[in-house]
């Protein structure tokens, strides 16, 4: 366990560990890929949970010095910036000008290149698709020194391989993408309690037309027979009298300073937390106007929240399965397995993905319902349960998200990602990752 603590470049889940990783930053977007390493993996903020951001015995080539903006077209909402620019930095620049990110994951501490490499999705998937859908073009630096401008019309095969390509096709030096216009920096949020999967699907179907953002928190550990949770839907609020384009606070002072002892999170405390969370609203339904920061990034205000799981780290599990033809049977089966296993998930996030087809060869989202769970690293028993879940996802023709994965088998990966063989021909010969060597 010590090596996890001492690894200066862990993944966000602190599991698995990687040995002998070297790290250096690309000095500028005009630099070349270093030659002296057998394997190279681009590294942004290391917010991937499992091993897609690890490179055992290889080099992590950082983007932290590629943090400059290149241009901003304020009238049309098109931004071009270096690959290491974070969503945090972008929001600070664009929100006061009445623009917002077209798609954002649940943290603003990700880089633009990381968002492309994982073709990230957010609460507006049903309306806006993935981040990749909004990318206009980018420059890809290959290990042979080639610089390819990639777009839907120029080097399109490289463009679609790199979106969702897990950083394996080369190093993105800069990217250009479209922003979305906002009337205010505030969200009109409604929260509705639900007491069954059926209710959840009904709420989703009702809300998708009118609400740009939907997501649900689900309690997977209560003793109820069906699932319960809170359905959250939101849209950009109309202009506010005060602080209409207010930017999020710069840097939080709250941080988890130490690793929590491992006994703190157990099935009882997790159940108690879920009970409390379910009751937090007191009423069945409530509406508030809240700032985009707590709406999109509730965990960003506590730095290093990943340490609450202790040194053992934690595993995330996110899958998507179609539900329209079987009324969510596959999802219900998986929830049942998890409940019977008694392995609690602290936060379970449930959302329907829309019909917009992903463009990347290896993009995760597809039409269906997605569930994201996190588990303290319970060891082999957890791995066994997740393997059972994978079987159901495979049969349902769904998929598991590599950005959160630390354990899926090579067999499953091939089934989840049928365009793998096509993708492989675009992988840079010098690029690799711990994940890639595990599942290839």
């Amino acid at each position: 366990m010590n090596e996890i603590q001492n690894d200066p470049w862990p993944s966000w889940g602190l599991y698995p560990s990687a040995l002998n990783q070297s790290y250096q930053d690309l000095l500028s977007r005009l630099s070349l890929i270093p030659k002296e390493f057998d394997t190279i993996l681009p590294r942004g903020f290391g917010r991937s949970y499992g091993d897609t951001c690890l490179n055992d015995h290889g080099l992590l080539l950082g983007t932290s010095r590629l943090n400059h903006f290149i241009s901003l077209d304020e009238s049309n909402g098109i931004i071009r910036c270096e690959s290491g620019v974070s969503f945090d930095q972008i929001l600070q620049l664009i929100v006061p000008k009445g623009w917002f990110l077209p798609v954002t994951p649940g943290t603003k501490f990700v880089t633009v290149a990381g968002a492309i490499a994982n073709d990230v999705h957010g609460k507006n998937h049903h309306a806006a698709g993935n981040f990749g859908h909004h990318v206009v073009c980018f420059e890809l630096l290959r290990s042979n020194g080639e610089r390819l401008i990639c777009s839907r019309t120029e080097n399109p095969e490289m463009f679609f391989a790199t979106i969702g390509g897990l950083g394996l096709t080369g190093f993105i030096t800069w990217a250009e993408f479209r922003l979305s216009k906002i009337a205010s920096a505030w969200i009109e949020q409604e929260q509705i309690q639900f007491y069954s999967l059926k209710e959840f699907f009904e709420l989703s179907a009702q809300s998708e037309e009118q609400y740009e953002y939907t997501v649900s928190w689900a309690d997977c550990v209560s003793n109820q027979s069906d699932i319960r949770g809170i359905f959250m839907r939101g849209k950009i609020a109309s202009p506010q009298a005060q602080d209409n384009f207010k930017v999020h606070a710069l840097s939080s002072i709250k941080t988890v300073p130490l690793f929590f002892p491992e006994w703190i999170l157990n099935k009882f405390s997790i159940r108690a937390f879920n009970e409390m969370y379910f009751r937090k609203n007191l009423s069945e339904q409530r509406t508030d106007i809240i700032h985009y920061d707590p709406f999109f990034y509730p965990l960003d205000s506590i730095h290093h929240w990943n340490k609450i799981y202790g040194h053992r780290g934690f595993l995330q599990y996110q899958f998507v399965v179609p539900y329209k033809h079987d009324s969510g049977k596959a999802l219900a089966q998986i929830l049942d397995i998890l409940k019977r296993s008694q392995m609690g998930s602290f936060l379970a996030v449930l959302k329907t993905f829309g019909s917009k087809k992903s463009e990347g060869l290896m993009s995760f989202p597809q039409e269906g319902v997605t569930l994201a769970l996190d588990f303290p690293n319970y060891g082999p028993s957890l791995l066994k349960v997740l393997e059972q879940c994978d079987t159901i996802v495979r049969e349902a023709k769904g998929s598991v998200y590599p950005a959160k994965d630390a354990r899926m088998s090579a067999e499953s990966f091939k089934v989840f990602y049928p365009r793998l063989a096509e993708f492989e021909q675009y992988v840079d010969p010098q690029f690799s990752s711990s994940f890639w060597r595990r599942v290839k």
Binding site: D25, L30, H68, F69, S71, E82, L93
Partner: protein
């Protein structure tokens, strides 16, 4: 519109300071060595709102060019409101103990180049009778210790020089401010193991701009270094010399 000169403009802290002034729609001149990096930074500052950015690419250790280049800055800006001297190198202490080149490199980059520049800049500031000269120094200059006394001595010399200059320029209405920085997480310190005392460059930059606005004389950044150094300076030398610091 504020007019700002940033010397050593490619440093991480200097870039963050420049961004704050860019947001205020200032006009900036960036002086550094790496032309390509200066172009990248200038583009970034324009996106952040800078009214105009001009680059001067010249090695800061080329002392013979200082006077001419300072004149060039005034040609561009006419009047300068704030000057930040942010360049310097950490160097390698162990190497400097045996290698004269390394020793002189550290002293030149952190002291000689600064005092030469300050001398020419002071002439111009005195003529225009306004403006602020801000110098980035280090807490390492507060007390000599074996791990970095070469670097520290250059910073200490600079502190005395800057104090004297502040005194001299006071009657001319020119303000001189010395920033003593603690640990900052920048490319210069990438090989250090980071702990809770380490600060991010953007927060240090905010402190620098605030200090300039408030016309402070000496500012420790982050503020708690004032107390840390107070304690370190209070240790009697008879004990201090035995410590491994």
């Amino acid at each position: 519109m504020k007019k700002i000169l940033i010397i050593g403009a490619t440093s991480a802290i200097a870039q963050e300071v420049a961004k704050i002034y860019a947001h205020e729609k200032a006009e900036l001149v960036l002086w550094g060595r790496n032309t390509q990096m200066l172009d990248i930074i200038a583009q970034d500052l324009k996106v952040h709102g800078a009214a105009q950015v001009t680059n001067i690419s010249h090695d800061l250790n080329d002392l013979d060019a200082h006077e001419k280049t300072v004149a060039q800055v005034w040609n561009q800006l006419q009047k300068v409101d704030v000057i930040l001297l942010a360049h310097g190198v950490l160097g390698n202490q162990l190497e400097a103990e045996n290698d004269l080149d390394e020793l002189l490199q550290i002293i030149t980059s952190n002291y000689i180049s600064h005092v030469s520049l300050l001398t020419f800049l002071a002439q111009k500031m005195r003529e225009q009778k306004s403006g602020t000269l801000a110098v980035i120094s280090s807490v390492a200059g507060d007390r000599g210790k074996q791990s970095n006394y070469v670097y520290g001595s250059a910073k200490a010399g600079k502190t005395v020089f800057v104090d004297g200059l502040r005194n001299r320029l006071f009657t001319a209405g020119v303000h001189v401010i010395n920033f003593k920085l603690g640990f900052v997480d920048t490319p210069m310190t990438k090989d250090f193991k980071k702990g809770p005392l380490w600060a991010k460059p953007n927060l240090v930059a905010q402190g620098i701009v605030k200090g300039i606005e408030a016309k402070k004389d000496t500012v420790y950044l982050p503020f708690f270094w004032r107390f840390i150094m107070l304690i370190i300076k209070s240790i009697p030398e008879s004990i201090f010399k035995k410590l491994k610091m």
